[in-house]
Every structure is written in C-alpha cells, then in structure tokens.
C-alpha cells in the first residue's frame, strides 16, 4: 500500500484524532478511541492530556495498550491515582473536556448499548456492560464517538440504554438535569456525523474520500439524514498515515512479544 492509499479504518482513526485539541483533557475508551487519541498526541496535539480509567493521568504510551491498565500507561503518566479518585476527583469533578467512546450498539441520538443484546434478564448476548461509560457520558464536557459502521451496530432502537446520549433528542439531556453537552461528534469508517442543533439527531456532515451517501446508508440501520452542505473529509496526510502505521506496527510487535504462557 503506498502512503497515499489508506483503509477506511485508518481514515476513521485519523479523522477522529483531528477532533482533539492540544488543550483537551480526554478520557480515553479502549479500542478505536485509544488509537485516535494517541494519534492526536503524536501529531497535532502533543500536549493533549490522555486519561485512562485505570487511574493514569497524562499518559503517553509508545504502543497502544491492549487493556486500559497496561503498565506502560503508568510508566509514562504524569501521575497514577486510585480508581475511586479517578472517578470522584477527575471525572465527576468536571475536569475532563472530552470523553471518547466506542459502541457495540448506537442509535441516531448517540445513546449507546454495551450491556445486552435482547432482554436484560434473558439476554441473547451478554455484552461486557457499561464500565465507566454511564458517568463518562454525563460528566465529560462533550462526547466523541468512533465506530465502524454496520447495520448491527447502528440500529433504530438500542436494546439497552447503557449510556445516555441525547435520549429521544431535543432537550432531553437538560430535562434530566444533565449539564454537559453529550455526543457532539461521531466518526465512522465512512463519514463524520454531528447532531442536528434542534433535534440532536446525528447527521452526516462529511463523507470520507470515495464514500457515497448510499454507502453510508447501506451500513446504517436508520434512515440517514445528511446536512444541507456535506463536505468531503480531508485525506490523511502522509505524516498522519505514517504516524498511525508506525504506532500499529510498534503495538503489534510489543503485544506478540510474549510467549503464550502455560496457564492464564
């Protein structure tokens, strides 16, 4: 692959990374958010503060962690606090500007389900659960979401409200007494979405290079709304691409570096 070609996944990570500012304090979810946040740090936002719920504040890993508590997150952090302190002083204290979440299931209002597929008491699939998400969703200044599009993930009606986005839309957050902005951005492998200022429904504002409206609709379980003016997402720069690929290569080397133990 030449440095001017890129995968939809790379486009997604790099676009998500661009949304973070150098002054942001970001609560990082694992998976896609972690890659995006670290690319931001390694490119345009060297001073962005990355926080993982394991208690590491201001961390700067050289490889992506497999878990949210890998040793390198602590080794490179400004400080590492206990988990109760993390949730009390740092998240609930209102010090986090951006919470960056992934999603197993999401609806058009940015409500997320990572709890169950099917009925809560007799689930078809028991998912991991909310972890930090319910309070990340309400305590962070705003929420960025990143996920790979599919009809299974982007659904008309989620099975369980693990974390609250804009609820039924409009001023639903305010009516529940939530003072933070909630989801303000969703970056998928196909497009960039922002909530409509009135209805709060996620609306496509930018299509990634080579992506059509039909392609976005084909991988989304609700009828997609497009902004009046839909632009094209800027292509990854060669710096962005090489930074991401180097990070992924370092990560792969590091995580396969241990032999399979005899027991776990």
């Amino acid at each position: 692959m030449s440095v001017t070609d890129f995968t939809p996944d790379e486009m997604m990570t790099i676009t998500a990374a661009r949304a973070l500012k150098n002054t942001d304090v970001c609560f990082v979810g694992i998976g896609a958010p972690s890659a995006a946040c670290n690319i931001a740090r390694l490119t345009h936002a060297p001073d962005v503060t990355l926080i993982y719920e394991s208690g590491t504040i201001g961390t700067a890993p050289t490889v992506l962690p497999l878990s949210i508590g890998d040793g390198e997150l602590c080794d490179t952090a400004v400080t590492t606090v206990s988990v109760p302190e993390m949730f009390r002083y740092w998240l609930q204290g209102g010090r986090v500007t951006v919470g960056f979440l992934g999603a197993a299931q999401i609806d058009r209002f940015g409500n997320i389900n990572t709890t169950v597929i099917g009925d809560y008491d007799r689930p078809k699939t028991r998912l991991p659960g909310g972890g930090g998400a319910p309070e990340i969703a309400s305590s962070c200044g705003e929420i960025f979401i990143t996920l790979k599009q599919s009809k299974r993930a982007m659904v008309d009606k989620i099975d369980f409200f693990t974390s609250f986005g804009h609820g039924n839309g409009g001023d639903h957050r305010q009516r529940l007494g939530i003072t933070t902005k909630g989801p303000t951005l969703m970056v998928t492998d196909l497009a960039v979405w922002k909530p409509d200022p009135e209805t709060r429904e996620f609306t496509v504002v930018s299509l990634h290079p080579g992506v059509t409206r039909e392609m976005v609709q084909a991988e989304c379980g609700w009828t997609v709304r497009f902004a009046t003016k839909v632009i094209q997402t800027s292509r990854p720069t060669s710096t962005e691409l090489s930074t991401l690929r180097d990070l992924k290569a370092r990560t792969k080397a590091a995580h396969s570096g241990t032999k399979n133990g005899e027991a776990s």
């Binding site: 508590g69 040793g71 602590c74 988990v83 659960g129 319910p134 529940l176 032999k259 133990g261 776990s264």
Partner: protein
C-alpha cells in the same frame, strides 16, 4: 495483625462457602493464584464482587463456584467477551448466576464507602442510564443544601478480599504501586483479607505517600511469586497478553475449558506460578 502462611491455608481459613468475596486488581496485579486456589478447594455458592470480572471470574463461574456476581464490566480486556460468563447467563451452564450490575463509578464509590465505614455511597451518576431501572440497589439521596438528587448504592463490604501486591515487609506491611486500582479500598472494606505478594523484604523502602496497607489492617500474607500471571506485577513482569488472547479460544468450548482447568488449575499448585513468568521476566 497479618499472619504469614501458605495460600492453601489462607484460603481455607478465610473463605467459607456462601461468602461474599472480592478479588480485585484493575488490569494490574490480578490475584490469579488465589482464585485458582479457591477453585482447587472447591468452595461453592460464592457471591463474587469485582469491577472488572475477567479470566479468573470466567474460570470461577465456569467451575460452578458462583451464586451471584456484582460487577461493572465483564470482559476479556482488549480481546472480547467472557464466554463462560455468557454460557452461565445465556444458557445456565453450569448454573445460572444472579447478576447485580453497576457502573465503574458506582462500584468505585461503593468500595470507597465500604473502606470508610459508611452504609452507602453517594455520587452524581446513572443519569439516563437504564441500569438504574433494572437494579433495585440503585437508589437516590437528595442534597439537603441544593436539592440535587444524587445516585446512591450500598457500600461494598465483602467477607473477604483477595489481592496481589508487589511486596510485604516482615511486619506484614504491604506495598502496592503503579496502577493501584481499588485494592486498598477493597481490603479496608472487607472483614478479612488475603494478600499474595511477589516477595517479602526487610524494608519496603518506598515513598512516604505510596499505597501501603499496614500489617495490622491485613489478615493473611502469602508469598506467591508470579501470583498475578497472566496479568502483571509492575516492576516484576509484564502482562502476558498472549495468554489473554489464548483464553478466548479455551473458554469458547465447555470441554476445552474443563480440560484446561484440570491441567492448569486442579492439577497445579501456587508454586507453579513462578515458572509461568520466567519467560516474561526475561522479556521485561
């Protein structure tokens, strides 16, 4: 005052059938050796508490030791779902466990309240979250000054907490460093505590504000080098990521799981953990 003893003795003396038990460690310092010893001793009917149930709880559940699970995120970190937990919840194999589910913030606050001797924890949480509708232990209190309604959950007060730590000195003072998770709170919230350590030293020689549990606040200390494998012990050995990835396949099938448990747990001893980290120490 902490007593030094073997892990089999510590488990036998401190864990009873029917107990509420916490095994804590937030990705780091997960007490695998203790969980395996519990499985070997065949203690049943446990109510298990843990923010992040992962491999050890998948194993305890799959072996039928568990009656109830109180948790906030049940996954194989960085890999996927817990297949033995799913088999229990979705299919009732080997038994259908009862679930009490919270958010991380709730669990962290509930441990903190337990350590602080309070009956409940209060925090700003669960706003718009559906867990509040399916878990009757999520209630609320009203601020007597502002009128704000805040979430309330019962304090966590385990009968016994198991943790793994880097070291203890000969008076039983325990040092935990790096990602310290909720271990201090989980020990202080519990009636009894069992701490496995990488080594026992003459002096902890650490920072005055490091996370230290005084010996008189701990029940039992057991020397089990490698006792956190395949999680890690900061300063001793790194995380054995390959084992976490491998677990996904092992746990996918009931028979594969049972065979693995026989070979690696039932027919093993706490001493076997030291060997499991030799290649990791070298790599570190």
């Amino acid at each position: 005052m902490a007593q030094f003893m073997t892990l089999p003795q510590a488990v036998a003396e401190n864990l009873n059938a029917g107990d509420t038990a916490a095994f804590e460690g937030f990705t780091h310092l997960i007490p695998h050796a203790s969980a395996h010893e519990v499985i070997r001793q065949g203690t049943k009917d446990l109510a298990l508490v843990r923010m992040t149930p992962d491999l050890i709880y998948d194993q305890l559940i799959g072996m039928g030791a568990v009656r109830k699970l109180i948790f906030s995120y049940a996954g194989n970190p960085g890999v996927g779902l817990l297949r033995r937990l799913r088999d229990s919840v979705e299919n009732g194999w080997p038994n259908r466990i009862e679930i009490e589910e919270h958010s991380h913030a709730a669990m962290a606050n509930a441990y903190e309240a337990g350590a602080a001797g309070l009956p409940f924890a209060m925090f700003r949480g669960y706003l718009g979250a559906e867990l509040a509708q399916v878990n009757p232990n999520i209630r609320s209190v009203t601020c007597p000054f502002t009128g704000e309604k805040l979430a309330a959950v019962p304090a966590i007060r385990p009968d016994v907490t198991f943790i793994h730590a880097q070291k203890a000195d000969r008076k039983g003072n325990v040092l935990i460093e790096g990602i310290v998770g909720v271990q201090k709170e989980a020990v202080l919230a519990a009636k009894r505590s069992v701490v496995t350590v990488e080594e026992i030293v003459d002096d902890l020689w650490t920072h005055p504000n490091a996370c230290v549990l005084p010996g008189w606040a701990v029940t039992a200390i057991c020397l089990v080098p490698g006792g956190a494998h395949p999680s890690y012990a900061h300063g001793y050995y790194p995380r054995d990521n390959a084992s976490y990835i491998a677990w996904d396949k092992i746990a996918a099938d009931r028979d594969t799981f049972l065979a693995w448990m026989k070979d690696n747990v039932l027919d093993s001893t706490p001493e076997d953990f030291a060997e499991r980290i030799t290649h990791l120490r070298a790599a570190a």
